[in-house]
Point group: C2
Chain length 245, copies 2
């Protein structure tokens, strides 16, 4: 008989299944099961961790609620692929919005020293090199969102000087394929501002026009901040719904 591979230590303040969820999460983060891959059967996982099947099921439910894994009926349990990157549109309603993925146009790509706010957010030392992108999102050929992105060069090096015409409209799936960075969670800070001259020009709006600004920090499975992004769009197209219970 094989001994269990991952005996569960109980963590103070955590229920047994929450400790178990944390242990499973550590295995995902360590790369044992890459994003998109299937987890072993519940019974096998329960054996490996030396717990009852019911406890394992509750731990897996918790991980599913946290968005770490997804359970596809009749197929099994899979590590989530990560965000698709189209989520910025949840904050805006444009006339031409027909559910299609907005087109992406990279206006500028450069390697620069990270400004202080960016390096802090990325958890890097001051002045470390980052890849900076200016990017326009278009719907039905209308420019709608102007974005400035900052990406740590140590992760995104291969995207620093490749052919931009090979880039895709959705960045996160491309990041996953090209540099194995899986964006798992994003924190969006919504505020209100006025368009700068450059932003206004690209969006075909007057300078100083009211805009909604979304400051995003995006994180990978291990919780490292892998992207800082500022998205600006016409304030009058901004719309967001929150349910409070």
């Amino acid at each position: 008989m094989n001994p269990p591979l991952h005996l569960l230590r109980s963590e103070p303040g955590l229920s047994r299944y929450a400790s178990l969820a944390q242990a499973l999460r550590a295995r995902v983060v360590a790369g044992e099961w890459p994003p998109g891959s299937a987890l072993p059967a519940e019974s096998q996982l329960a054996n490996e961790h030396g717990v009852a099947l019911g406890t394992m099921r509750r731990a897996l439910e918790l991980l599913a609620e946290q968005g770490f894994i997804e359970r596809i009926h009749g197929k099994g349990t899979f590590v989530r692929q990560g965000l698709t990157g189209a989520t910025m549109l949840r904050f805006f309603r444009f006339d031409s919005g027909t559910g299609e993925v907005p087109k992406s146009r990279i206006l500028q790509r450069s390697q620069v020293s990270a400004p202080a706010t960016v390096s802090r957010a990325l958890g890097m030392g001051a002045g470390e090199p980052v890849l900076r992108l200016h990017r326009l999102r278009l719907m039905g050929d209308q420019p709608r969102l102007f974005e400035e992105l900052w990406l740590p060069l140590d992760l995104f090096g291969p995207l620093a000087d490749d052919d931009l015409s090979t880039w895709e409209d959705l960045l996160y799936p491309m990041f996953a394929r090209r540099v194995q960075v899986h964006v798992h969670r994003a924190v969006d800070d919504i505020g209100f501002s006025q368009l700068s001259a450059v932003q206004a020009q690209h969006l075909a709006l007057p300078p100083g026009h009211p805009c909604a600004q979304v400051q995003r920090s995006a994180f990978d499975l291990a919780g490292r901040c892998v992207e800082v992004r500022t998205t600006s769009g016409d304030a009058h197209a901004f719309h967001y719904t929150v349910t409070i219970t």
Copy 2:
């Protein structure tokens, strides 16, 4: 031996504990346990519904996640009191924001026929009578938010002509005490606009100044819309954080 009082019928498409949660919810909505009251012991509830204790525990967990009940360690399980009404501040950051409850000043109270959009939201016939309030929220004596509220007169009659000096800064707890309306859930639609002349005057800002506008529909335990509200505040004070997974 007494027969179980609430034998569980299984609902198609719902797991056993989700059906059970629905049955418990129906008892709350029917008024069997009013907001703030304690639920019977888990073992008694399990007996009444003819289910195992573990199933009852999962159903209660689900109701707690949905915000219907709350479990207070060492005290028991209680029907949630409803929202406190201070939640509009989650959308704004004011300089004087020190966590205190903003003061409330009712500027106007009148009985009017509900405009079409309001009667639709409240699920009433066109032109039915509603109580309309104009209300100012102040922090450190600075006017910060201007609100227009619409309340169905059949529920809020006792608040139509009482002494306004007896009103409290937080409306929802007062609604619960005075007219037994418990606001359980609110849906807030956020957009950007410009202040009207009246709004601007009350907020001591220039007319046309950019503002964030929150359109709220508030619901009681049974899911009836019991309040429609528009809140306006300086767009530059608007700030909201969303986490996406």
